[in-house]
């Protein structure tokens, strides 16, 4: 209970201080110093709360509670007006009067505490009574608590500040909204061509009645005219179209009409296309083409017939009948008998011409086929027939070979052999089967042919040839192993030699080896470009040869000699080689097929190395240095920069020298003609020697080439600095060098190259771009509707946001 009291009093004192802040500290001057100090501290506290500047709630700490307590105890003794109302309420025989405001007064406390009794005097006896709690103080306490717990309301910003924040927020919002235009604007700026107006307007069709209905006669003259018209019952505002016309207009909408028209157009186009095709096909004179076409058709018909048979037997029967009828007709017509004009001529020619003979046969076969009574039999028979028919279709390639029965075509043969040879190189085990297959195939093909014997003979020949080659190939792998081994050995040895840093003796040996093995003629050695050829030559002596291989190679060479004009380089080599080594040429021939790329590459580098080795002089040098030097030499083996430069300079000097002008006219004053040259005297006479120009500026500068070509007259027409959008002069030159005129370009390209950047339609109003045009949703709200809202009445939340923005 006393605790509670104390609390109450603490609250009371504070309230008193609050209310007393107005009267000022004059009364307090008389009080004890300690009291004053305490009171001042409290006052300061209360003032702080009143100002409500504190950023957060200011909770009452227990220590302050204590302060309030002690303060009250002392204060009880000192009479002070300001305590009045509060202390009275604590007295036993004092009845609290609730303050009721009945009239306007200045002394109104917001805490429901009146200062009514301020005028009354305080008697000491009143204070002497025991202190009792009163329930009425609870409300005061509550209020006080509320006051304490309430957050401070922030000071409103000044008007300018607020406006500034408003503006900033609005600006940010607007700029964001505008940024949606960025891609469109960029696109339009970079566009190759812009056509204005951007949006195509649909031309509004306004019927004349509508125009007329909106118009009235106003002037007396017009009225007069109208009167006249009315008198004669002429149509004035009536629809100018009759109902029938209107109905017809309505009957077919524009789209429908368009569609129909398009359909018709398409049909027409198709028809004309087919007609043109038929005409074209009819015009083709090639008999072969027609033959193939006819056969294709027949086959197709057959296939369809088969399909039909499976799907619909009755229809198939009908079809069959039709075929039968055709056959009968054919029989009657004797079309394919050998009685026609063509057939007769062919019959004459058949003796000499293989083709004619074949054609005759074909025709006979056809006749036979057509006149044969068709038996509705099993499918297999039909298929057989089909197969036969196909068998008759001898491929052209075979025919060609047949034609050169006496001497097989070397080209064909070679190809053939090559192909088989390659196949064999790939997998020698698998070889016999495909060959046999091929042979059987060819046999099948040839069987129905006329000159069976000849063909058979020929094929026998070919087969034998093939067998031979296979035999050779079979022996090949064994023989091939060895050269490979030897070459790899060589590589290995050379590598080893490099890595171990050969001593001189070794090198000398190597040198000797080289000189002995090298087959390169002296001329070739001079030319650095041909160094690359060496590896091939180097290998040669070390390779072993088998007798079989040599034989085989020899055979092939004699084939190839017949067949192929040899490439130049090869020829040279083969010429060169016999001089030094009589054994090599055959092997060299074979080499192309034997040495694959891999082999070439692996042997290339050692050869270069072997070249470099003898040139290095390494008597006292460190091994590393030597290594380095060699490395560099290897890396730049091919290029001699200085010589190149000198050559270039010489050329430049030559080119810049003025040329003599030769004005001799052959045949002028003497005989002319083929092989006759004007006389030396005449030439001397008409040769105008250009005077020697000033000496070149780089005459005494060995390391420099100064170009003196700049032509002052041409410079006036040349661009001096690279224009802006270009980043490299080559770009610019390229644009200049590509012509855009129709002289150099096709019509289409010309049009494309000369499209103007901006195209406007004459007489059309170009409206500003719209968000809807480019696919954006325009702001649905009207600009106007928003304006009418009062911007001043912004919600508290909005204000807070503004504040936050301003802080940011």
């Amino acid at each position: 209970k006393p605790r509670m009291d104390r609390n109450c009093f603490a609250a009371g004192t504070e309230i008193a201080f609050l209310s007393a802040s107005a009267p000022g500290p004059c009364e307090r001057e008389t009080a004890e110093m300690s009291v004053v100090r305490a009171a001042e501290s409290l006052l300061a506290l209360s003032q702080q709360e009143e100002l409500e500047d504190l950023p957060k709630d200011y909770p009452l700490s227990p220590s302050e509670d204590e302060v309030g307590d002690t303060c009250l105890k002392r204060e009880v003794l000192s009479p002070a007006k300001m305590w009045g109302s509060v202390l009275y309420s604590a007295l036993p025989n004092f009845r609290w009067k609730l303050a009721e405001r009945s009239e306007a007064s200045l002394k109104v406390s917001e805490f429901n505490v009146t200062s009514e009794g301020s005028g009354e005097k305080l008697v000491l006896s009143d204070l002497l009574g025991p202190v009792k709690t009163s329930s009425s103080l609870a409300t005061v306490k509550k209020q006080l608590n509320r006051v304490k717990s309430k957050k401070t309301v922030e000071l409103p910003l000044n008007k300018e500040e607020v406006e500034r924040i408003h503006r900033e927020v609005a600006f940010n919002k607007t700029s964001q909204a505008l940024s949606k235009w960025d891609p469109i604007i960029l696109k339009n700026r970079q566009a190759e061509q812009l056509v204005f107006p951007l949006k195509k307007e649909q031309s509004a069709f306004a019927p004349i009645e509508h125009v007329l209905s909106g118009w009235k006669a106003r002037t007396p003259l017009e009225q007069e005219v109208f009167n006249l018209l009315h008198k004669n019952k002429q149509p004035v505002t009536d629809p100018l179209l009759t109902p029938v016309e209107k109905a017809s207009l309505k009957a077919m909408s524009l789209e429908e009409a368009k569609m129909r028209r398009a359909e018709l157009q398409r049909a027409r186009a198709l028809q004309s296309y087919y007609e043109a095709r038929a005409r074209r096909e009819k015009k083709i004179k090639s008999k072969k083409y027609h033959k193939v076409l006819k056969k294709g058709k027949a086959r197709k018909a057959l296939r369809e017939f088969e399909k039909l048979q499976k799907a619909n037997p009755t229809a198939a029967l009908e079809e069959l009948e039709k075929i039968e009828k055709a056959r009968m007709m054919e029989r009657m017509s004797l079309k394919h008998q050998n009685s026609g004009k063509w057939a007769k001529s062919k019959a004459i020619m058949a003796k000499y011409d293989l083709e004619a003979r074949q054609a005759m046969q074909e025709q006979l076969a056809r006749n036979k086929e057509l006149t044969q009574k068709l038996q509705v039999a099993s499918d297999s028979e039909e298929e057989e027939e089909g197969a036969e028919e196909e068998g008759e279709l001898v491929p052209d390639a075979v025919n060609e070979i047949q034609m050169d029965a006496n001497g097989p075509n070397p080209w064909m043969l070679r190809n053939h052999l090559r192909g088989t040879g390659e196949a064999k190189v790939r997998d020698p085990e698998k070889l016999p089967e495909p060959v046999a297959h091929e042979a059987s195939e060819s046999e099948e093909e040839e069987r129905p042919g006329a000159e069976e014997e000849i063909l058979l003979n020929e094929f026998e020949e070919r087969r034998s040839l093939r067998k031979k080659s296979t035999l050779n190939q079979d022996t090949e792998p064994v023989s091939r192993q060895e050269p490979k081994d030897s070459s790899s050995k060589e590589v290995l040895s050379e590598l080893r030699a490099l890595s171990q840093k050969l001593n001189r003796e070794n090198q000398q040996c190597g040198k000797q080896n080289m000189s002995s093995t090298r087959t390169v003629p002296a001329v070739q050695r001079e030319e650095p470009a041909e160094v690359e050829e060496e590896p091939l030559l180097l290998q040669r002596p070390e390779r072993a040869h088998t007798v079989e291989e040599l034989e085989e190679l020899g055979k092939e060479e004699c084939f190839q000699n017949k067949e192929v004009p040899k490439p130049m380089g090869e020829g040279q080599q083969s010429e060169r080689n016999p001089n030094n080594q009589p054994g090599t040429p055959k092997e060299k021939k074979r080499k192309e097929e034997m040495i694959d790329l891999q082999n070439l590459l692996t042997t290339k580098s050692p050869s270069v190395k072997s070249l470099a080795v003898p040139t290095t002089v390494e008597e006292l040098e460190d091994e590393e240095e030597r290594d380095q030097k060699r490395m560099i030499k290897e890396a730049f083996a091919g290029d001699d920069v200085i010589r190149d430069f000198l050559k270039e300079k010489r050329e430049a000097v030559e080119a810049s020298k003025p040329k003599d002008v030769d004005l001799t006219l052959p045949g002028w004053g003497e005989w002319g003609g083929m092989g006759l040259k004007p006389s030396a005297k005449k030439r001397r006479r008409f040769l105008i020697k250009t005077p020697e120009g000033p000496p070149r500026k780089d005459k005494n500068l060995p390391n420099v080439i100064i170009n003196e070509k700049r032509n002052v007259h041409a410079a006036a027409h040349q661009v001096r600095v690279l224009p802006y959008p270009f980043t490299h002069h080559q770009q610019f030159e390229r644009t200049i060098q590509t012509p855009i005129g129709s002289t150099w370009n096709t019509q289409r390209a010309f049009q494309k190259l000369t499209t103007p950047k901006v195209v406007t339609k004459p007489g059309h109003i170009i409206k500003p771009i719209k968000a809807e045009d480019v696919g954006y949703r325009s702001s649905s709200r009207s600009d106007l509707s928003v304006v009418q809202r009062n911007p001043k009445q912004l919600s508290i939340r909005h204000k807070k946001q503004l504040k936050k923005n301003s802080v940011d």
């Binding site: 406006e163 408003h166 503006r167 900033e168 609005a170 600006f171 919002k173 607007t174 700029s175 909204a177 505008l178 940024s179 235009w181 604007i185 339009n188 812009l194 204005f196 106003r218 002037t219 006036a716 027409h717 040349q718 661009v719 001096r720 224009p723 610019f732 200049i736 012509p739 855009i740 005129g741 129709s742 002289t743 150099w744 370009n745 096709t746 049009q751 190259l753 000369t754 499209t755 103007p756 901006v758 406007t760 339609k761 004459p762 007489g763 109003i765 170009i766 409206k767 500003p768 771009i769 719209k770 968000a771 702001s779 709200r781 600009d783 106007l784 928003v786 304006v787 009418q788 911007p791």
Partner: protein, 445 residues
């Protein structure tokens, strides 16, 4: 014996009518057509010369005003109709095809300060020195009717400019402040101010229609948002801006015509640096208007000339002047982007071609192809000195010419001084300010 002959289909080589062109088979083998570059160069040279020969831009002068023409307005629906307001308060409506005045209205006492048409083209608004805003019907009064405005709004202060919204029944006036008006009301629905100064011109953005730009005599350009009823940003330049114009194809680009002889193209999102400074005039620039294609704009200047600038170039591509044309006060680019109109002090409205050497009228396809080809050739060889010289050559009146020389000297002197200062001061203490930044005093948020 049959002799086979080569035969050709006559359809391939005989023309159908006499007017058709002879079909000439062409061989495009480049070896048959040597010297591409020199030949095209010569063609380009000739095309450039011909362009200068045919450059006759002046089309017509519309006379009838009895005082200087102060403002011009285009009709939004009709290409042939132009409205003009004069310094004596008279508004005239012209027909360009007939080159005649079709209507005269005594609209105000004193100057007609501003004129604008409604987006639908049925009426137009004028503001004058008599502190009134008047709305007029586009069609003349009927027979026996009086010439009277549809509405008249009496204001408290003088209105110096007016512009109409591009979609809605809203217009904006400027004077002491920027007022946004509903057409149906007699008081503004919204007034926006930022400081107190006389605002000389206000323009609606044609694309984002809620945006406004104004320029005031305290050297600033202020942007407003109508929806949020607040100004957005203000940029202060060296000298006063007379008017601004928004690019009709690029929503955030506008160009300001300044008293310091320059025009400044701004991106409204970044006002601290103009996108481009357009220099060529030798006196204050009074008016500017964009081509409807948004690629070029035309400016009218106090130096008695109008110039056409590409938006992305700082130098003008064309200058128009005549002996009799005085200070050009207003200029407009017609909505088909073919013509330019300018109204000047000496009471005339002049009609110019936007492309000085363009042939008017319908072109045949061959003419068009030749024109396109020549244009491309000129473009291709534009950097070559001969062609550049010819293409850039313009005759100028002596006053302008001498002033250009004078200003060049002045500019050079300033530059030299700057360089010297930079050279002789402590490194880092003086920095070179770019031409773009030089003229911007401040950006106020």
């Amino acid at each position: 014996m049959k002799v086979k002959m080569l035969s050709r289909n006559p359809d391939n080589y005989v023309r159908e009518t006499k007017l058709d062109l002879q079909r000439v088979p062409r061989n495009y083998d480049p070896t048959l057509h040597p010297f591409e570059v020199p030949r095209e160069y010569i063609r380009a040279l000739n095309a450039t010369k011909l362009e200068r020969v045919f450059a006759k831009p002046f089309l017509a002068s519309l006379d009838g005003h009895r005082d200087g023409v102060n403002c011009l307005a285009k009709h939004p629906k009709s290409l042939a109709t132009v409205l003009s307001g004069a310094c004596d308060g008279e508004v005239r409506i012209w027909n360009l095809t007939k080159r005649k005045c079709i209507r005269t209205v005594q609209a105000h006492e004193g100057f007609v300060r501003g004129i604008c048409t409604r987006f639908c083209g049925t009426s137009f608004f004028t503001v004058g020195d008599d502190k009134t805003v008047k709305q007029w019907k586009m069609d003349g009064p009927g027979y026996g009717e009086e010439e009277e405005p549809l509405h008249t709004i009496l204001g408290k202060t003088v209105y110096t400019g007016i512009d109409h919204h591009w979609k809605e029944a809203v217009f904006v006036t400027c004077g002491q402040q920027v007022d946004i008006w509903d057409e149906q009301r007699t008081s503004p629905i919204c007034s926006m101010t930022w400081g107190f100064d006389s605002i000389s011109s206000v323009k609606f953005n044609p694309i984002e229609t809620f945006l406004l730009g104004s320029c005031a005599s305290d050297r600033n350009i202020v942007l407003y948002d109508m929806r949020q009823a607040t100004p957005l940003k203000k940029v202060i330049l060296d000298m006063r801006t007379n008017t601004i114009c928004w690019n009709p194809m690029e929503a955030f680009i506008f160009t300001a015509a300044n008293e310091d002889y320059n025009l400044y193209t701004f991106d409204m999102r970044a006002l601290d640096t103009p996108v481009m400074v357009h220099m060529d005039h030798v006196s204050a620039v009074l008016d500017v208007d964009y081509s409807p294609t948004g690629k070029e704009f035309v400016s009218a200047s106090f130096d008695k000339s109008i110039r056409i600038f590409p938006v992305d170039k700082s130098r003008s591509r064309e200058v128009y002047h005549t002996k009799r044309m005085q200070h050009v006060i207003c200029v407009k680019w017609t909505s088909d982007s073919k013509y330019i109109m300018c109204g000047s002090d000496e009471m005339n409205i002049r009609l110019w071609k936007a492309n000085a050497s363009e042939k008017l009228g319908v072109l045949t396809s061959r003419e068009k192809a030749a024109k396109d080809y020549n244009q491309k050739l000129k473009e291709k060889f534009q950097h070559h000195p001969h062609i550049k010289r010819i293409a850039r050559h313009r005759h100028l009146p002596k006053s302008i010419y001498s002033q250009i020389q004078e200003q060049r000297i002045m500019k050079e002197a300033r530059r030299r001084k700057e360089v010297n200062r930079l050279k002789h001061s402590k490194p880092g203490s003086v920095s070179i300010v770019s031409e773009k930044k030089k003229h911007i005093v401040a950006v106020v948020k």
